[in-house]
């Protein structure tokens, strides 16, 4: 095997800019998730996985990443996150499907870098759960340094967030924490039955809207020139749901509300793509599997609010065994940084194998998001989204050493540590400069803000 290190050295010296190179990650324990685990190498070229196996042919000029004693996994995929966006909830209305988190992507959210440094390469970025029908959602890659559109996972089906249970009705409940303003600011619905009603009414509207547009499209096809119906951004994404062009991600906890949303979907002829949280999913796992809905849940979080009293840590394993595609998510920028150890808990609770557990934060969420052709496992032709851990990845002791996304090195622990001193120095310099300026009399400044 021919090894050339020049490219690696150049890259480290150059610092920030990331660009696709040819890499050979050599002599590590490769956990492919889809094709077993072996000691061997992964070859990365043009942003894709060229080859993975015990013996590979390294292309000339490839940069070698020595993974001796280390573990290589597919990049972690978080199926439920709210990072990298500047708003989460448009909670003013019960149906806020007109808003799209795509419009408020913040590529400079430090949580992106931190998640990526925790091995996450892809995340499903969701609207919040303030309303029965929330905003539009999308899948991002953690390409730290790219602009807003540079983060978007090309080709991933966009989604929409629905929410059931306590959160969406809290805003309508005079006792829901709104205090003295409750009378003027409360909004429908205030009950769980109201939540169902809102969703059904919205789909009634969407069906009527769709038939208007279908009639218009048919007329145009016949060569007529009618005035098009008014384009309604609230109903447009629901029309896409009815047409199967947009995934529905439903925030849900209790068994009854899970069955309720599956019935609505059946009644109106759409599919629930994923149930999110779904902590009582183990009670209705068969029904979830029959609907072909994915379940994205927490590992062992329970009793943090009324509707999670019956949560059990075996939930993920039970649903999996009943035939549901299950993923483990974070819903939190901190938890997002160690989803690998969250997956490990599924081995303890439910006795899953390492591969099955790891799949819950890689291949399974990829399936749920319809991106398993591109990511989720280490297979030839897939995106080179790879994580190098120093220890067995499903352990609390494992730490991320390197992260590649699209074959580019986005995180390198050594480089990160080496750069920290310079960053601190830069910060101290600015603080001192500001202090010095403040000490001078009459340092200019805008009016309305007093100089320190």
């Amino acid at each position: 095997m021919r090894i050339q290190c020049m490219a690696l050295i150049t890259c480290l010296l150059a610092g920030a800019p990331v660009y696709a190179q040819t890499y050979v990650i050599r002599n590590g324990t490769i956990m492919t998730v889809a094709k077993g685990t072996f000691v061997g190498s992964v070859v990365v070229k043009d942003g894709k996985i060229l080859e993975a196996g015990p013996n590979v042919t390294a292309p000339v000029g490839a940069t070698v990443i020595d993974a001796t004693g280390a573990f290589v996994t597919p990049g972690i995929i978080d199926c439920h996150s709210h990072i990298a966006i500047e708003n989460v909830n448009e909670g003013s209305v019960a149906v806020s499907s007109m808003v799209d988190v795509r419009d408020v992507i913040n590529p400079e959210d430090i949580a992106i870098y931190r998640a990526m440094a925790g091995g996450v390469t892809t995340a499903n970025i969701l609207h919040g759960s303030a309303n029965p029908i929330g905003g539009q959602t999308l899948v991002l890659k953690m390409r730290w340094g790219a602009d807003a559109h540079g983060l978007i996972f090309e080709g991933a089906v966009p989604g929409i967030k629905f929410a059931l249970g306590e959160n969406p009705k809290r805003a309508g409940n005079p006792a829901g924490g709104l205090g003295a303003n409750a009378a003027t600011t409360a909004r429908y619905p205030a009950t769980r039955m109201g939540v169902e009603d809102v969703i059904r009414e919205a789909f009634n509207d969407a069906k009527a809207y769709k038939s208007d547009w279908d009639a218009y499209d048919a007329a145009v096809a016949k060569g007529e020139h009618p005035i098009p119906p008014r384009k309604d951004l609230r109903l447009e994404p629901l029309k896409e749901v009815l047409e199967g062009k947009r995934y529905v991600h439903v925030h849900s906890y209790l068994a009854d509300e899970i069955l309720m949303i599956l019935r609505i979907a059946d009644d109106y002829g759409f599919k629930v793509r994923t149930l999110q949280h779904v902590l009582e999913g183990y009670k209705v796992a068969k029904e979830i599997a029959d609907h072909d809905a994915g379940a994205s849940t927490f590992s062992d979080w329970y009793d943090y609010k009324e509707e999670v009293r019956d949560a059990i840590p075996y939930n993920a394993a039970i649903m999996q065994k009943k035939g549901v595609v299950v993923s483990l998510n974070s819903d939190d920028p901190e938890l997002m940084r160690h989803l690998n150890s969250e997956a490990g808990k599924a081995m303890k609770y439910g006795g899953l194998t390492a591969d099955e557990a790891l799949a819950m934060v890689t291949l399974n969420p990829a399936k749920q998001l319809g991106i398993d052709k591109q990511v989720g496992s280490i297979e030839t032709g897939k995106d080179a989204d790879l994580v190098v851990y120093d220890k067995f990845p499903l352990s609390d002791y494992a730490r991320v050493q390197k992260v590649l996304i699209d074959g580019k090195l986005y995180f390198d622990r050594d480089k990160e540590i080496a750069g920290q001193e310079a960053k601190t120095a830069e910060m101290m310099k600015l603080i001192e400069k500001e202090k010095a300026a403040a000490a001078r009399p009459a340092a200019g400044g805008g009016r309305g803000q007093v100089n320190p």
Binding site: G91, V93, A130, L178, T185, R230, E426, G446
Partner: protein, 497 residues
């Protein structure tokens, strides 16, 4: 008459044609004194004039500033030249101009004449918006938007969606709201600002701006130079976007505002299609509803969108391209980052840069310096105009609520100290905003035929020691307001012994 006080003080007021002005016979500037009548006659003639102003209303008087340094902005600096003003316009400018025999003369030795400054985004002229001088989406980040009758009405019936046209007064015209009695007019004029791009900054779509000449004691009709010049838009939601209820209703977040704006542009397309169909053949067709919000959007020559951070610049430029709407960005906090200028050039969009540069909040915890980004913003924001100049991006400067001339001057000086050339600073406050708003054919530089908006200084305009001697608006002369003894921006240690 208010002006009689300045008459006896020996200072000059010129501009004989409008009924409210008074002729004056002794011009004393920069040491040069010209006596037009024997001293004994002065009071008599003045009294005569005061009683017969009407007779002089159409007097084609002229004024000449001679032997002054003239910074034309549109052309080279004239080291020693003359500007002749007649009927509110610049009649002639150059070195070697013959002063017309009927012109009052100002001896300009030691003085510099600049075009009047243009504040490219403000509410000056609309006194009810004075408290919300900082645009909601701009640097000042005013926590409480101005309450207008419209806002109050909106709060009572909570907006339930885009159809309720939340916080929208797109049809409102600044030109209809301008009054000469706004106390800020005389104040900001002291900084040499003769002209403003005044916008009704309210809600999401505030309404149409106007180019306004800052005259005092004048009919609003005389002040408006151009209207409408564009639609002011802000991105701030009504609050309570978070898990709770609706608060002020939809939209409560930036993404809500964006979806609302997107919807209103879609509605406009549909509205125009339906209206056109109805106009072709109204018989048998339901009459389309009149929608004043959409009429206001349709009349918008350009849309002003807020963008401070690089992320917002990128977001708003993409959004404007999607709307196919001619756009001007305002804010520019992070325009020191080279990507901003590149984006502005790529989308061929100008940026109005706020002069309210961020400073560390007084009494903030010394152990909490904030993020590296916040530190960088406070350090580098004043270098944003310099970065835009170097990159060749189109930009103008705006006061963002700074009122006191000294504060305004200091803010510009700060940008100059951070690398902005004096020429570019002046251009960003004169010809560039005039070009951005499409009024460079009539104002923004000292050229023959343009409006006589001038500022005359002793010293370089933005220097610390410079004093503004007179401001000429529409050919009428004003003096800076006396600096308040304990002004907000006053230097420490004033007074004493």
């Amino acid at each position: 008459m208010v002006r009689s006080a300045s008459l006896s003080a020996g200072s000059a007021i010129l501009g004989p044609w409008p009924s409210h002005s008074i002729l004056l016979f002794r011009i004393d500037l920069g040491g040069g004194v010209v006596d037009w009548f024997p001293t004994l006659m002065r009071q008599t003639v003045a009294a005569l004039l005061l009683t017969s102003l009407g007779a002089f209303a159409d007097d084609p008087g002229a004024m000449a500033i001679r032997n002054a340094r003239i910074v034309t902005v549109s052309g080279p600096v004239i080291a020693k030249g003359t500007v002749v003003i007649r009927k509110g316009l610049i009649e002639a400018v150059g070195d070697g101009i013959t002063v017309p025999p009927d012109a009052w003369i100002v001896e300009g030795d030691g003085l510099t004449v600049y075009p009047g400054l243009i504040d490219s985004l403000t509410t000056v002229g609309i006194p009810s918006l004075a408290t919300a001088a900082a645009p909601a989406g701009g640097r000042g980040a005013a926590a409480t938007p101005a309450v207008t009758p419209t806002d109050t009405a909106a709060a009572v019936t909570r907006s339930m969606g885009p159809e309720d046209r939340p916080r929208t007064t797109s049809w409102a015209l600044a030109a209809d709201e301008i009054v000469a009695t706004d106390r800020r007019i005389a104040t900001v004029r002291g900084a040499g600002i003769t002209t403003t791009a005044t916008f009704p900054m309210r809600g999401i779509f505030g309404g149409q701006g106007a180019i306004v000449d800052l005259l005092s004691d004048e009919k609003p009709a005389k002040m408006v130079v151009a209207s409408p010049i564009g639609q002011y838009a802000a991105m701030t939601g009504g609050g309570r976007g978070g898990g709770g209820g609706g608060g002020a209703g939809f939209p409560g977040t930036t993404m809500g505002v964006i979806s609302y704006i997107r919807q209103i542009y879609l509605d406009l397309d549909h509205y125009q299609a339906v209206k056109a169909a109805y106009a072709r053949d109204p018989r048998g067709m339901p009459r389309p509803e009149y929608d004043r919000a959409l009429e206001g959007i349709a009349a918008s020559k350009r849309l002003l969108l807020p963008a401070n951070r690089l992320v917002e610049v990128d977001r708003m430029l993409r959004f404007a391209a999607e709307l196919k709407q001619n756009t001007v960005l305002y804010g520019g906090l992070e325009a020191y980052r080279p990507e901003v200028a590149e984006l502005l050039k790529k989308y061929n969009t100008p940026l109005l840069v706020s002069l309210k540069f961020p400073v560390r909040v007084a009494d903030s915890d010394p152990d909490e310096p904030g993020t590296l980004r916040a530190l960088e913003q406070r350090d580098k924001a004043p270098s944003a105009p310099a970065a835009l100049e170097k990159a060749g991006a189109k930009f103008a400067l705006y006061s963002d609520g700074i009122e006191q001339p000294r504060d305004f001057q200091r803010a510009v000086k700060k940008a100059i100290d951070a690398g902005l050339s004096k020429e570019a600073a002046l251009r960003a406050l004169t010809l560039s905003p005039a070009e951005i708003y499409g009024v460079a054919d009539r104002t923004g530089s000292i050229e023959k035929g343009k409006i006589a908006n001038l500022v005359v200084t002793k010293g370089d305009l933005f220097d610390d020691a410079t004093t503004v001697q007179m401001i000429i608006v529409d050919g009428r002369k004003y003096e800076p307001e006396p600096v308040p003894a304990t002004g907000a921006g006053g230097r420490g240690g004033r007074g004493g012994n």
